[in-house]
């Protein structure tokens, strides 16, 4: 029995060592932050959302891009909860700063860098990721190749800043040195008791790949400043069950 616990302990230590070597943040602060993701945490290595690395988001359409930025803002609000400044780098930004407040972010604590060239955006992101004083860095860049993503990952490994790489309408979905790849799609919203109108934002979050974790698909709702999991066997929204008038305008 004693030998068994010793072995378990050893395996645990070895696992942690491997994680550190692979560029995961196993520092104390990653465990203190609760992103409110609930059951999703089981998918992550170490059971908590990986910080101090780069996450990739892919959005093929405009609606998906807005949804991805929404999910990202939800994560960002946790990262910025302890005070701190976030850098938002983009080429052709559409984000409306005022709305970040809905996601629990003080919009004046976000510094936007609007560049014209993809090359400049990558340069700015690399510089920003080296700055340990930032809470997070978000970059909306369309295409990134593997070598570029590795540079970003190297920058992040020393500074432990969390980076989000949001790729809208990418030409190819090539492999990157990022820890994860997310795809966020909007879902039809639900109102209580089938009332007409638009409800809280609902998202389908697909974790397509994650290093040392388990990919999966979840359905989330952003309600009252936190993510809420939707029941899995939710009836799909169809117009059949609604009356004619509701079918028109819901």
């Amino acid at each position: 029995m004693k030998a068994l616990t010793g072995k378990k302990e050893m395996i645990k230590q070895l696992k942690e060592k491997i994680m550190t070597m692979e560029g995961f943040n196993t520092g104390a602060d990653s465990r203190q932050l609760d992103f409110g993701l609930g059951p999703m945490n089981a998918a992550f290595p170490g059971g908590s959302f990986p910080m101090g690395t780069i996450h990739e988001f892919i959005s093929p359409t405009e609606a998906c891009a807005a949804a991805a930025n929404g999910f990202l803002s939800g994560l960002l609000s946790t990262l910025m909860r302890r005070g701190g400044i976030c850098l938002w780098i983009s080429v052709g930004r559409k984000l409306f700063p005022s709305t970040l407040k809905f996601f629990g972010i003080e919009p004046h604590r976000v510094i936007f860098v609007d560049v014209r060239l993809r090359k400049d955006a990558l340069w700015v992101m690399e510089q920003a990721l080296k700055c340990h004083a930032l809470a997070a860095v978000v970059a909306e860049i369309r295409d990134v190749n593997f070598a570029e993503s590795r540079r970003l990952q190297l920058a992040v490994e020393t500074s432990r800043v969390t980076g989000f790489l949001h790729r809208q309408h990418p030409l190819t979905q090539n492999t990157l040195a990022c820890i994860s790849r997310w795809k966020i799609r909007p879902l039809p919203s639900q109102t209580t008791g089938g009332l007409p109108g638009v409800g809280f934002p609902c998202l389908e979050v697909e974790l397509e790949k994650i290093r040392n974790g388990r990919p999966g698909v979840w359905k989330l709702e952003w309600r009252n400043g936190a993510f809420k999991h939707l029941p899995a066997q939710r009836p799909a929204v169809s117009t059949h069950g609604l009356s004619k008038k509701e079918r028109s305008y819901a």
């Binding site: 807005a66 984000l95 407040k101 004046h108 930032l134 109108g197």
Partner: protein, 497 residues
Amino acid sequence: MPKRYLYIWFRYLSTDRLSKVHPELQGKPFLLYASEHGRMVVKASSQPLVQEGMVPGMVVADVRAIFPSIEVFPDEPEAEEKLLNDIAEWCFLYSPTVTTDLPDGLILDISGCPHLWGGERPYLETITTRLHKGGYHVRLAIADTIGAAWAMARYGNSPIVEQGQQSDALFPLPPAALRLDSATLQRMEKLGFRQIGQLMSIPRTNLRRRFGNGLLLRLGQALGTERELLKPIQPTPVYEERLPCLEPIRTAKGIEIALQRLLEALCERLFREGKGMRTGTLKGYRIDGKTVQISIGTNRASRNAAHLFKLFELKIPEIEPALGIELFSLEATLVEEVSETQEALWAAGSHNQTAIAELLDNIAGKVGMQAIHRYLPQEHHWPEKSIKAINSLEGQPQTVWRTDRPRPLHLLPSPEPIDVMVPLPDYPPLHFRYRGETIRITRADGPERIEQEWWLQTGPPRDYYQVEDEHGARYWLFRLGLYGNGKTQWFIHGFFV
């Protein structure tokens, strides 16, 4: 060493200034006025006018009666004062101690200076010629005392009073040359004193009884028996470091080393004086006689040599050393105070603002300052106006960020027109076409009417609808204009999460 003073009297300072700004006024009659007690009074008139007898103090209407086509301009005493200060700084060329004598004179303490120009006469001629070339009418005088120099510049004939000769030189001048107030001067006129010499022969006690201590003081100052103190202007310090090279520098590495040395020296000086650099220029003097330069700017006054080096480093490739650079100079062209307490606060805060400011400097150096934005809320309903961009890192919101109305996370830079199918007026559309795609709407909220802010712009209101399509994508649409009241047009303005 005996003291020597130079007085420069700018005979037509204000009109000279104006004719330098407007060259077409050169040599033409014009005047400057200011309103006093509801009248327009002449404050200064140009040289041709003065020769006609139009002196300051007259009423503009009287001058106009004589010269109907005269041009008049408002007087700007502040601009003249600034100009005088600028000329005073320029005069540091000739003497280390310069004082302005408002409104139109400069006093230079030239003790021990003229021999560098080969004597007092060449010295005087150099200054006169350079000021004449600059477009100023000046009269200069050198004397042992400030009072005598003042008197000789304004009333005397010979510009140089030899040492100890001031009482002879002042003898024939009118009492006005003693810098007295007008009441005393009037009384002297009444009593028949036309020359300073007449006053010199009267016992001091009698003079004091009649004219008070003021006259004795002025007389003593002019003759050199009373001391007069100057309040010299302080030259603006120049933050510059120079580095001559034994061998001409041609490599980037060499330039880097030179820059590092210069920065260390300059930052040490800035640190001692509690200052920080906002803009700086590095100049390289090449052996072919040309100069090359690079400039940087920072978001916050900085004296961190490593950080400033990083900013300059980005621009080093712009330097063309050609055959080599023999002299480097680094100048902090704009210097600001750095508050020590602030520095301590940043370091203690949870987020290190200095590090962020330095990062932003770095970014601004590469992609330009205009790329960096921060936003604060503004109290406007019109969505585009509800935020304002600011430049500083410190600005805090004056009002709250509003969350009581739904606003999309993605807002299009400008609304894009769409084709819609609407069943009834004031209803949200059933479907709309956007970029060649038909989108069917299943759910909708609204309308939220946003009127134009009439104090800023006029036009029809916008009726906003939050709509959701069958796939769950959420849009922000609006109708511009009212039904039954001219044309209406639908637009898409944003995407919700």
